[in-house]
């Protein structure tokens, strides 16, 4: 397929600015209001008055529209095609959900309203808590965390609160994390005040039980794990893992980033996990918005419910209300209820899928990942490290190490060459236990034709790598811009993080 992304030579808003242009105006206030305070800024104390307006650009409304529409044309999105970033679950985001949140009976709702005026939305969120509990095998949920990483932080803080409550926080200082874990896991553990102990994966790409056994001790606070793991492999010894950690007095935390593999098939709560966060912007189809907002509700087994972040939505049989009286709670993680609009979209998605649809989602997500593995593992230069012959779940990690050794074309080059063919690249160089890693998660959203387009692109890139390396190394050419100088961007002498900083450096 031929592909050419738009290449607008689009100046910054600041460079397009023309003195006097306006892009919006507000109505004048009424006479009475005007007369009550004719010179409004004169009421401000001198040391708080802004002497000159901020140096914002001046543009008309059509110019602003043009500018951003041009920018949008230089941005790939999942509505254009496969976006196979591993552990990111880039699936179809139903337009229906965007309409649902536009309802003024949601968009104008204020979180400081009395609960008696919010019964409709509180019922929705209460049901969402229950549905997430059912899907994950947990007993209770708090919807508050604003993203997956904040859900993780909340989860590890629950571990902390649990040990503090049992008088063990002084001694239980360690969180155990496999070497294949998402980077947010150790970062969240550290933010919650714990030391991180890394356990290696074994030759099958799973948690090394012997290493785990020697890692646990009376210092263990808990284990953070995702299942299937970042290699897309189901941790088959999960029962034993849970037993080892629980026996040592630790809790089991489930990183929900990889939940799309499990819907209707297997539940973290049944496998022995005590705490979970879910990424609604992954498994539950809310759009990622170029980096957020997401939502990372955190769920627990009943015994840990007292520690959930407040507020939790409760139902007394007649009324829905916000429970903020949880003395053992880890407290608040967000100013209000979290990313409420994202929660409503996820609710609509679950309702639209139903139990049958959720089950089919995981079936097709896993089917697609294995199809890609099967096809690509036969290509020269590529291998699928760890657990050969074992089915992957929602994602597969392949290695371009041989290709790199044979031709000099590395995982980055392959990624850039994919961009040139109108496909997004996989996650690269992660997990770090695989050299020249390409981590591919196709999701259920794409059918065989789009998967074949991806596989064909791979085949073509491999052929080029072995016959004409230069072509691959010069990619991308068909995107809005060629490869960017990342060193320059991060170098203290050339660093420009805003237009203001750039201009100051030019002086």
């Amino acid at each position: 397929m031929k592909f050419q992304q738009a290449k607008w030579d689009e100046a910054l808003l600041f460079e397009r600015s023309r003195a006097g242009a306006i892009g919006y105006s507000f109505p004048a206030v009424s006479k009475a209001v005007q007369q009550a305070l004719p010179k409004p800024t004169s009421t401000l104390p001198k040391d708080l008055r802004r002497s000159t307006p901020p140096s914002l650009p001046e543009l008309s409304e059509p110019e602003v529209m043009q500018h951003f529409v041009r920018l949008s044309q230089m941005n790939y999105c999942v509505d254009l095609g496969l976006y196979p970033l591993g552990s990111c679950t880039m699936k179809f985001n139903p337009p229906m959900n965007e309409e649902v949140i536009k309802n003024p009976q949601f968009s104008l709702l204020h979180p400081h309203q009395d609960c008696s005026t919010l019964q409709g939305i509180l019922q929705i969120f209460y049901e969402l808590q229950q549905w997430l509990s059912e899907i994950t095998g947990m007993d209770d949920f708090s919807l508050q965390p604003a993203a997956g990483a904040q859900g993780e932080l909340a989860g590890v803080l629950i571990i902390r609160a649990y040990h503090a409550d049992h008088g063990n926080l002084e001694s239980r200082r360690e969180i155990i994390i496999p070497d294949s874990a998402h980077g947010t896991n150790p970062a969240s553990a550290a933010m919650a005040g714990f030391d991180v102990v890394v356990v290696p994966s074994n030759e099958q790409g799973q948690v090394d039980l012997k290493a785990l056994e020697s890692a646990v001790s009376e210092k263990t606070a808990g284990l953070m794990l995702t299942n299937p793991n970042t290699l897309g492999l189901f941790e088959q010894k999960i029962e034993k893992i849970a037993e080892i950690v629980h026996k040592a007095g630790g809790l089991l935390y489930y990183d929900g980033a990889n939940l799309n593999a499990n819907l209707g098939r297997v539940r973290p709560g049944d496998m022995g996990f005590d705490i979970i966060h879910t990424n609604l912007h992954k498994t539950f189809a809310t759009p990622h918005g170029g980096g957020g907002p997401g939502a990372g509700p955190v769920g627990v087994k009943a015994s840990l419910a007292p520690y959930l972040p407040i507020p939790v939505i409760v139902f007394d049989g007649e009324n829905y209300s916000l429970d903020i009286e949880r003395p053992k709670s880890i407290g608040r993680t967000h100013g209000f209820l979290g990313n409420a609009a994202v929660l409503l979209k996820a609710y609509a998605y679950i309702m639209r899928m139903g139990w049958q649809g959720l089950h089919a989602v995981s079936d097709h997500a896993v089917l697609n990942a294995n199809y890609i593995m099967k096809k690509i593992q036969g290509f020269q230069g590529f291998s699928v490290p760890y657990a050969s012959g074992v089915w992957r779940k929602h994602e597969v990690v392949i290695s371009a190490k041989q290709l790199e050794q044979d031709t000099g074309v590395n995982a980055r080059d392959v990624s850039k060459a994919l961009l040139d063919r109108g496909l997004h690249a996989p996650t690269f160089y992660f997990p770090s236990i695989v050299e020249e890693a390409l981590m591919i998660e196709p999701t259920e959203t794409f059918g065989k034709a789009e998967l074949d387009r991806f596989i064909d692109a791979f085949r073509e890139i491999v052929e080029q790598a072995y016959t004409n390396v230069d072509i691959v190394c010069k990619t991308p050419q068909n995107t809005a811009i060629d490869r960017l100088d990342e060193v320059k961007a991060a170098h203290p002498r050339t660093m420009a993080l805003t237009w203001r900083m750039f201009q100051q450096s030019q002086k």
Binding site: T41, Q150, D485
Partner: protein
């Protein structure tokens, strides 16, 4: 299961058979055969049956109709998330699928649109706050405060952080959640009961060589402005601490930029810049700092930088100084944040591009006038005092209910008053009797450009009727 079809799922019939054949298996079940059988779910999830689109939208509309609906438009609730006008062009752009359904711009060459939009967001905020370094967003003001305290502690290697006594209880709650594990001490700065202004003499005694940062807000949670900002900066910097200032960006057309009076870190809530209230989320945490290496190295979150292309030399944008972040630095990262509020940041960028300097000045002045008018109308009512603080205000103020016959004692409970005003169609304010009992029977009222004179007159008239009806 086999005959279940869904419009979101393209793999059906022959296609599925072909893939199964390529894998050499007969059914999808085989792909899950490595899961220990005791964990394989034997029963269906207790989730309702799949519904069609129209059934879902109808059902949710019915559920949302259970919420109370004002016959009189937006109410007067603020307190951290506020009603503001949203230009249609903001909505049109931000709902474009190219922005909406993209991931974090890991592959910069194919994601220049989002990268440039985020760089422009950073650049526009930099002009508002007059600080040259801005990140690509935090979750909300509250978590930005938590991250700012942690950053101040890392930069100064000190553990004490001072905050005003009168800050939003939920914001203070999040601050505690973020800073407790790090062992930081959060101390409160007292205030003058008449003006609400921070007690500078007390601040001088509180600031010491263990103080990482001093935080205050402009406007404060209860709506008034904090002056003597230069003195605050001096006291803070003399002790080697960082000055952290919280702002409402929509005020910065007319209010002095914190970067201009010595703020080292500026945080705030970007929701007013084009995002709906949406029951309190998504919000937009603003985070800016001075251009100094020891600060930049400690920043939390994603940052977009300007650079050039390697071969064409063309200008472009990338995510940068990522060595601070969790995917590289893991447990040594400055923060665990990964997904942020990128689309809300783009929303703010579009909003600010439309308003420009004159729009931002106009909205600031309009808000000042409308709030002043509301304050005056309410204060004219018998038994109502507004505002309770003798200080300039921006868009919010506190009014207090007193029994006119017994002017020294508390009159009607504020919640009773607010409830009966609500029964007449208006959400008049946030009751403060529980969160700030020192101020008696009082409420926080927010007035913005969405409110007309008629709406304000209706508020004061309804409040008057309520008070009279009860007396």
């Amino acid at each position: 299961m086999t005959d279940f079809r869904h419009s979101f799922l393209p793999t059906v019939g022959e296609q599925e058979t072909e893939i199964l054949a390529a894998l050499g298996i007969k059914s999808i079940d085989e792909l899950f055969s490595d899961i220990p059988s005791k964990f394989q779910l034997k029963t269906r999830l207790k989730i309702p049956d799949s519904l069609s689109e129209i059934e879902v939208t109808r059902k949710i509309a019915e559920q949302l109709a259970q919420n109370w609906k004002s016959p009189k438009g937006e109410g007067f609730l603020g307190g951290g998330v506020w009603h503001h006008v949203i230009p249609e062009t903001v909505k049109a752009i931000v709902n474009r699928t190219e922005f909406l359904t993209a991931y974090t711009p890991y592959q910069s060459e194919i994601s220049q649109g989002m990268l440039q939009a985020l760089f422009e967001y950073q650049s526009l905020i930099a002009e508002l706050v007059e600080l040259p370094v801005v990140n690509a967003s935090m979750y909300d003001w509250a978590s930005a405060l938590g991250e700012a305290a942690l950053m101040a502690s890392r930069v100064t290697k000190r553990q004490k952080f001072l905050v005003p006594n009168l800050i939003a209880p939920n914001r203070r709650g999040v601050l505690n959640t973020y800073t407790n594990p790090a062992g930081m001490n959060i101390d409160s700065i007292g205030y003058d009961p008449v003006s609400g202004q921070l007690d500078l003499e007390q601040l001088k005694t509180l600031v010491d060589k263990d103080t990482a940062g001093v935080y205050f807000e402009n406007p404060a949670y209860l709506g008034y402005l904090q002056s003597e900002v230069d003195a605050m900066a001096e006291i803070t910097h003399d002790a080697g601490a960082l000055l952290v200032v919280g702002i409402d960006p929509i005020s910065l057309g007319i209010i002095r930029a914190p970067g201009n009076y010595g703020a080292d870190i500026v945080i705030g809530e970007g929701q007013p810049l084009g995002s709906p209230i949406n029951m309190g989320g998504p919000l937009l945490g603003i985070f800016a700092s001075r251009d100094e290496r020891k600060l930049i190295r400690q920043l939390p979150g994603r940052i977009i930088g300007l650079t050039t292309a390697q071969s064409s030399g063309q200008r472009g944008f990338v995510m940068t100084i990522q060595a601070r972040e969790q995917h590289i630095r893991r447990e040594k990262a400055t923060s665990n944040i990964c997904s942020n509020q990128a689309l809300s940041a783009v929303t703010a960028a579009i909003y600010l591009a439309l308003l420009g300097p004159s729009g931002l000045v106009q909205i600031g002045e309009t808000i000042l006038q409308l709030r002043h008018y509301a304050e005056r109308q309410l204060n004219a009512l018998e038994g109502v005092k507004a505002p309770i603080f003798k200080a300039p205000h921006f868009k919010e103020f506190v009014f207090q209910i007193k029994n006119p016959k017994h002017s020294n004692s508390a009159g009607l409970p504020i919640r009773t008053v607010l409830k009966s005003v609500q029964e007449r169609g208006i959400l008049a304010g946030i009751p403060l009797d529980q969160s700030f009992p020192d101020f008696g029977q009082s409420a926080l009222v927010c007035v913005t450009e969405v409110h007309t004179q008629a709406a304000i007159d209706s508020l004061s008239k309804t409040l008057q009727q309520t008070m009279e009806g009860r007396q």
